[in-house]
Each structure stands twice: as structure tokens, then as C-alpha cells.
Symmetry: C2
Subunit: 521 residues, 2 copies
């Protein structure tokens, strides 16, 4: 058995059963091994940012890691942004980065680069497997780290991959269960909540299941504390039958208001709330002066367990949670806007849909109105690097083939990794992509004003850098060119009909929604 | 004057007059400054790999650096592959990477990352400008490094950018001329060449001008030495009226043959020839056993000067060089193949065209047949990271608006950075993109066989990873969707007519050439 086969078999043994790939010459033995080892599904992406984004989406839904197969330093560079997003989500993945043969690295060749340097900046776990004897052990450790939510990157020299004297595959290593929160922490938070002062639970740092949302809502109903999800939740169960949770606004100005008047903020997995960016006249910390911060749990802690124990301590197991209820909105008419898109989505979203949100400004009303939609999961852009959505949707769809996936993408975001559309077509995934065509980096128009640059009013050169028009992008043509059934909606009723149609059938779809830019103030 | 304005003015003062951008919030003051400072042309790319590739192409043609404007670590990650390609070409650029405000970096926020780590892996010069007093000095030093062919990356914290107490702009620093080769080196090579033993001059490491090609050819004609360009020349003048130079083949097997029987190889800017990749049964070093390596010049040396002095030493100034001559090939008919594409290109290429080659297997016959074309410059993929071509063509066209730019792109390569088509349309650049649609990673099919993996025959899973079909990509639809006039050629005569038409008019064009994959052996 050569190194590549031992590696692939080890990954399969360790529960890593999907590999998103964009291989090159140095990875050919790994690719060959896919026909010698059973149990590894391989999915090709036409750019490495597609590959890493798909691994993120897969892990968020499957609750276990996928692998990526990348070609030397530049291949990892291309994957970097979506690895960064996954890292911020604390979502694990195993990156296999092919490298030159060990004896070839001494030479100056076009593709050699500081691979360890670049992967090290965004990986928790890095190893270059320099010997076929160590490869399967290394791979099992990488898988273990990924199961623990880490970015694990295994650098695979070509000669180690093709070597015939590889050690046999390894079995699944121990995977630690989520940490349990200490009892005195739960007791302290119980006592705090019992005081009845103005308090908010800020929840995040990982998945919020339907069960967790209901537990959180019980606590809120019983104690009077508000319960709020962080601005960009990794994965949160929402809609009909879930516990109603607030969401912390993105804009610092609005976040201050949202947190105003509180005496206490209890961090439940979430980190201290901080403004996404710095601005000349806005402070970074969002916690109001005089408001105390407390920590119930940190990322990686067992959320459901700690909430159940807190509920036991509070004695509120029988309190009814405040659930979101289904409300079918009326069919929107007139001009198409982000709000009418939100109405249509709320109307027609199938139960158990996975919503992947890379929609920037246009997505804001959708989050609000889908509270009244059937139960669904919402995945957010956790690392701020746009181009996450369509790739992420691929992974989500592969993890849950029975569920509809809806990807919301800004036109600027969609262009970053538009190649992902082809993989959706090739794999015939049940993904509908809604692209918001407002012909702007709309968020940057808003941010330009917020930074106060040049009095908040861009001159002609600056305006051109925020503009996606001239020429306008035609996503219907682009999607069609990648094999996706696509349509354009210019009115609210056109979108409503097209969206309902897409939700009623299975398979790849793209709808270009011709919405106006969002204006603030 | 704020930091951003002082920075932009310093760049302009230092001869950095084009900035390829994809900004975010932290770069808004830089963007604003584009309307306060004259002389900086700003060009938007819809992905950072477009931006860095364009900066590379600009510098190769303008012989001076451009700037890029990138958004924090993920923005640089997206730019990484084409920065890598530029670094391997020894082409300088100034990367401005916006960062959070200095006081904001202490917080965990979605976009913070190890920016210094990632930029450091591919930059010669890195500085984080932590004070408005130092910013213009830092910028001038970055520009100086870039003029010297270095990747210079200036990290720009938002508060340094918006600070109103910036130091005034700096003037152009000293730019060192190319190094002169020492006289005793020239004397030694003269003596070697005078021996008349089987010798090859391997030329590369930077631009090979028409003048240099003629000087090299004189030396070859006079001494009997062969003259050969490295496999992937940064920029080489070719076609009618240039000195005829061989090219070292990409495939190691063919490169051994090419270098067989030599007693001496003289490196003229080029590095020792090494196989691009390692393979199980192929040695890395391409220099035949017993063949001696000598060095006339190294990258960064003044090539024309050293060749003129060598000619003086040899006393062959009056020897006639062997020039490429124009030969108009017959119009091809029948099936469209890379060879018939090559015939058509050779027939219709306008004089002074800039050819950017990201065409992988399909480009091979084009290089050969364009020796008989009018004079042109050929730019190669120097770092092996595909997706270089269309972005590079943008920069070349902006550097030389009066010249036609022809980009050759494999379908796999074109998909990597297809967003670049939009910038070509927006800027109405005189670029024709020929995409070779063979629905394969054709090079990987060849490489799979060469690595000997699984007996050289991919199984079904492996074959799927090398295949771009199912569904086939439709580049006409994609290009049309980005505002580019596009057509498809399925026969040799269709391509011949479409290509002649594209060459006869100005402005953006794309031709999808439906060629079969190249087979070896």
C-alpha cells in the first residue's frame, strides 16, 4: 500500500468521508488512491476557494470534518480566505496540501514556496509528513484535530505519497466530547439571573440547535433576561418551533442601542462584543459603560448541557419557551426590494432548509422575516471574507442531500467564487442561489459614509471603486454558462413566482434579483 | 493632509501611477484620497487575484511597478497566487494591505488575522506603518524595493490612514541601475566559447528585449553555441526581426534530450535547469552528466550590457544575427486543433502584440508557430499558479494601451480568475482572450501518466477530478455575462475568421476555441 492509499484509508477510518479537491501534479497519487480506497467521496472545485468554503459548509451541517486537497503554496493561498472564515467559525477541516518530493525541495522551481509559512498563519495544527512510516499517524492526528474544530493542515510531499512502504492505515483516534461547564459557574450565573437586573445573554461561538434555542428561551422567559445571538452565528436553528432569539446588529451604532441600559451581559459561547471595524469616532467596545460582563460558557463547551443544568438550577424546566410561529405573509407586489425578497422567502421556504448567508446588506430584512418561516438553519459569514456563500452551500448540500439549501449572495460576493456554480451543477445539488444584483459594493457605500472619509461623500474615483456597474453583470448568462438553470426577477411578483417554483422543485437554480441598493439614514 | 493622501502622493511621486484595487472598509480613506491626489489611475478588480495578476502584467510591460490595494489578511490571501507568480518573475509591486486601526487589533474580530505572517511568506519587503509620521517614508521605501523587482508589502492600519497629522509626501528615492557583470566573468565566458565545444547559453531571469535577442544570436552564430530561452520566460521579444532562440521544453524527458550532448551550459540570467515537478523515475536535475555549468549573469544583472561586452571581447560585432522572418501560413481548414489555432494566430497577429500565455498544453504549438509572426512580446506563467493569464493581460493592456494584447487561457486556468473579464470590459481594454475549451485539466491527464500513479491510468474517481465536462463550461455565456463580446469556434476556418476579425478591431473580445485535448506519445 502506498502512502496515498494509507492516507486516504486513514481519513475514511477517521470519519473524514468527503474530500473537496483541486489537485495538481504533486497530488496525482492521492487522486489515484481514490479508486483504490472505498468510502471517500471526491468533489472537484474549479478554484481552491470553492474547495475550502465547501469543507466549511459540510462540517457545519455534518458536524464532522471534510478534507480538502490543495496544490502546494499557491493552492493553499487560493483557499486561504475560506479557511479563515471556517477558523473564525471554529469549524474543523483537514487540508491535504501536496508538496514537491522531499529531495526536490532543495531546488529553485516555479512552484516551491514557503508552504509551512502560509498554512501556519491560519491552521491550528500543521505537519509536513516527511516519511511514509509516519503518514497514517499524522493523518489520524490531523483528523482528530479537525474533529475538535481545528484547522488541521497536513503537507504531503509527493514521494511520501507515492512511496510503497507506507505504514498501514490508522483507526479513528479518541475524540474528546465537548467540555462541561463547571458547576460553580452555573451557580454564579443562576444567582446573577435571579437578581432580575437588566441582563442579556449573548449566545454564539458554535452551533445553536433548536433544542438550545428552546432552552435559552425558557431561561429568558423565566428570568426576564433578554437572549441574543451574536451578529454572525455559525449555525442557528430558527423559524417555526424554535426559541425566539434576538440578533446583535452589525452596525456599531445600532449595537450600542441594542445593548443600552443593560447591567449585565452573560457570554454564552460568544466572545465580548466588539465593533466589526474601527471608525474614527466610534469606540471599539460595544459593551455599555458600567455594564458587567460574565461568562457562562466559552466556545467548545457543551451548550445544551450547560443550559439544561442552568435550567435545573433555576428550577424553570416547566416554563414554556417563547417560540417563533409560522405566519404566511401576503404575496408582495410592486418594485422588487430586499424587503419583498424577504417576504417571498419567508412565504415559500421549505421546512428544514439550510440558509447560507453571504448577502451582505440585502440579507438584513430576510433574517428578520424568516423568523416566521418554517424551521430552518441559518449559516453566517463568520470571518468577514466575502465569497463564502456559494462554496459553503455546496458543502451543506453534500452533508444533507435531503434538505433544500438556499444561498443568499451579494453580487460582489458571488463574483468572488462564482466558479462554485459549476460544482453545484456537476453534483446536481439541491441548491438555489439568490444573487442580489444592486450593481454596487453597497456595504462599502455605507461604510464610506461611516468612516467619514472626505466628508462621507466619495468623489468620482472613489465611487468607481465601489461600483459594480459599467458594465452590469449578468448572472443569468454566467450561471447558464456553468450549467445552472437561471432566471432574472425584476419585480416583486416575478421574484415571488420564481422563488416559489425553485423551492417546489429539486436541483440547481439561480435567481438574479434586481434589487436597488440599501440606503441608510 | 491625512495619511492616505500622503501615501498616495508619495506613490505617484515614486512613479507608481496605477493602483489595482479591491478595497474594503479599512481602505476607505485610501479610496477617498484618489480624488484628492492627481496622477493615480485606479482600476477595480472583482477578486484580489485579478488585482495582483494585473500588477504583474503592468510591471512586465511598463518596466515599473504598480500598486495593489487589498483588504486585510483574506484579501492578501486571495491575491497570493498571482503575487507568487510575480515573485518568481522577479517583477516588483507595492501591495497596500489595509488593516484594522492599531488600537482595534487587540480585540478578536472576524477579520483580524496574522497579516504579517501571510504577507511575509511571499514578500521581499514588509512593513506595518504604525505611525502617520513614518508612512510616507515607508511608502517611498516600498516603492524603491518594488522598482528593484521586489514584492513590497506595506500594511496600513486604518487609523494611520485617516490620521490628519501625516508627514508630507516623499520624493522618488534612488533606484539602483541593473548590476554590471564583472569583466573577468565576461573574459572567462569568452574563453569558454572560443573553445568551440558543444555549448548552450540558457537565457532568462528577466526580460529578453529584441536587442538582447539579436546580441545573443550574434554570439551563437559566431561561436557555434546554441542559444535557448528558459521554459517560462518572463518576457521575451519574438517574431519578425528578433534573434531566433530555442526554448527549453517543459517535460523533463524532452528537456534531457534538448540538453543532451552538451559539454557546457552557460547561465545567462537563468537558473540551473531543474524539472518542474519530481516524478518517481525521473531525476530532478536536467543538466546532463559531465556537462559543466557556468554563469555569465544572474537575475538583476544588465543583460544587454553584458552581451555587448561579450561581443566586444569575442570581436563579433559585425556578425549577422539569425533573425526570425515573417512567413504567412496558409489558412487552416478542417478540425480545430491547437495546431490550427497556432496557424491562425501566426497568420493574423498584429505587430507589437503582447501575448500572455496561460494556455497550458494548448499553447505549445502557438509558441513554435509564432516565431514566423510579426514582432511581439511573449509573457509566461513563471510561478506555475494557473489563473495568471486574464489578470496579467489587464495590466499589460493598461501599461501599453496602443498595443494589442492576446491572452491564451486554458479552460481550467480561465475559470480560476474569470472575474478578470469584467475589468477588461469596464476599462474597454484592447484584449482578446482565446480560451481553449478541451473540457479537461489536460495537463493533469498527461501528468497522471508521467507520475505512473495506478499504472498511469486513472480510475473513474480520479478521472472525474481531471475532467471539466459534465457539464461543459460555456465561456461565451460567461463572457457575455461580464460584458465581453464573445464567440465560439468549432472548426479551423471559424477560428481563423473570428481571430482575424478580433485582431482587426480594437476592444475586448473572447473566442472560445473548441479544441480536443492534447495527447502525448
Amino acid at each position: 500500500m502506498n502512502g496515498a492509499a494509507s492516507l486516504v484509508q486513514t481519513l475514511v477510518n477517521c470519519g473524514v468521508e468527503v474530500c473537496f479537491t483541486n489537485p495538481g501534479t504533486s497530488e496525482m497519487h492521492f487522486v489515484a488512491a481514490l479508486d483504490d480506497v472505498e468510502g471517500m467521496r471526491c468533489v472537484l472545485g474549479l478554484f481552491e476557494g470553492v474547495v475550502s468554503g465547501a469543507a466549511d459548509g459540510y462540517a457545519r451541517i455534518a458536524r464532522k470534518p471534510a478534507a480538502t486537497l490543495l496544490h502546494l503554496g499557491p493552492g493553499f493561498g487560493n483557499a486561504f480566505a475560506n479557511v479563515h472564515n471556517a477558523k473564525k467559525a471554529r469549524v474543523g477541516m483537514v487540508n491535504i496540501v501536496g508538496d514537491h518530493a522531499t529531495y526536490h525541495l532543495q531546488y529553485e522551481t516555479p512552484l516551491n514556496s514557503d508552504i509551512e509559512g502560509i498554512v501556519g498563519t491560519v491552521s491550528h495544527w500543521v505537519r509536513s509528513s516527511e516519511s511514509p512510516a509516519a503518514l497514517s499517524t499524522d493523518a489520524a492526528q490531523a483528523a482528530q484535530a479537525a474533529h475538535h474544530g481545528q484547522i488541521a493542515t497536513l503537507i504531503l510531499p509527493a514521494d511520501v505519497s507515492w512511496s510503497e512502504d507506507a505504514a498501514p492505515p490508522m483507526a479513528m483516534p479518541d475524540i474528546a466530547p465537548p467540555r462541561r461547564v463547571q458547576s460553580d459557574t452555573i451557580e454564579a450565573i443562576k444567582n446573577l439571573l435571579a437578581r432580575g437586573e437588566p441582563t442579556l445573554l449573548l449566545v454564539g461561538g458554535g452551533e445553536i440547535t433548536q433544542k438550545a434555542s428552546l432552552l435559552l428561551s425558557k431561561i429568558g422567559e423565566h428570568t426576564g433576561a433578554r437572549v441574543c445571538v451574536e451578529t454572525f452565528p455559525v449555525r442557528v436553528a430558527r423559524g417555526e418551533g424554535t426559541g425566539q432569539l434576538e440578533r446583535l446588529p452589525y452596525l456599531a451604532e445600532m449595537a450600542y442601542q441594542h445593548l443600552g441600559g443593560l447591567n449585565h451581559i452573560v457570554l454564552v459561547g460568544a466572545l465580548e462584543p466588539i465593533s466589526f471595524f474601527a471608525y474614527p469616532h466610534i469606540q471599539s467596545k460595544l459593551v455599555p459603560e458600567g455594564c458587567e460582563l460574565h461568562t457562562l460558557s466559552t466556545p467548545g463547551d457543551d451548550l445544551e448541557d450547560c443550559l439544561e443544568r442552568l435550567i435545573d438550577a433555576l428550577g424553570c424546566a416547566d416554563v414554556a419557551p417563547r417560540c417563533s410561529v409560522r405566519a404566511t405573509l401576503e404575496a408582495p407586489t410592486g418594485d422588487l426590494t430586499p424587503l419583498t425578497v424577504a417576504q417571498s422567502i419567508s412565504r415559500s421556504l421549505p421546512s428544514q432548509t439550510i440558509v447560507v448567508d453571504d448577502g451582505a446588506t440585502s440579507s438584513l430584512p430576510i433574517y428578520a422575516l424568516t423568523e416566521a418561516a418554517p424551521a430552518h438553519d441559518w449559516l453566517s459569514l463568520t470571518g468577514g471574507a466575502i465569497g463564502f456563500g456559494i462554496p459553503n452551500a455546496i458543502g451543506a448540500a453534500i452533508a444533507a442531500p435531503e434538505r433544500k439549501v438556499l444561498c443568499l449572495a451579494g453580487d460582489g460576493s458571488a463574483m468572488y467564487t462564482n466558479q462554485a456554480l459549476w460544482t453545484i451543477a456537476r453534483e446536481q445539488l439541491d441548491v438555489t442561489v439568490v444573487v442580489f444584483s444592486n450593481h454596487k459594493y453597497n456595504i462599502l457605500e455605507i461604510e464610506f459614509a461611516r468612516t467619514g472619509a472626505r466628508g462621507g461623500k466619495p468623489g468620482p474615483n472613489a465611487a468607481a471603486m465601489l461600483d459594480l456597474g459599467q458594465p452590469n453583470l449578468d448572472f443569468v448568462s454566467m450561471a447558464t454558462g456553468m450549467g445552472i438553470q437561471a432566471s432574472r426577477a425584476a419585480t416583486a411578483s416575478e421574484f415571488d413566482a420564481q422563488f416559489a417554483d425553485a423551492m417546489a422543485q429539486r436541483g440547481p437554480r439561480l435567481i438574479e434579483a434586481m434589487v436597488p441598493p440599501v440606503k441608510l439614514g
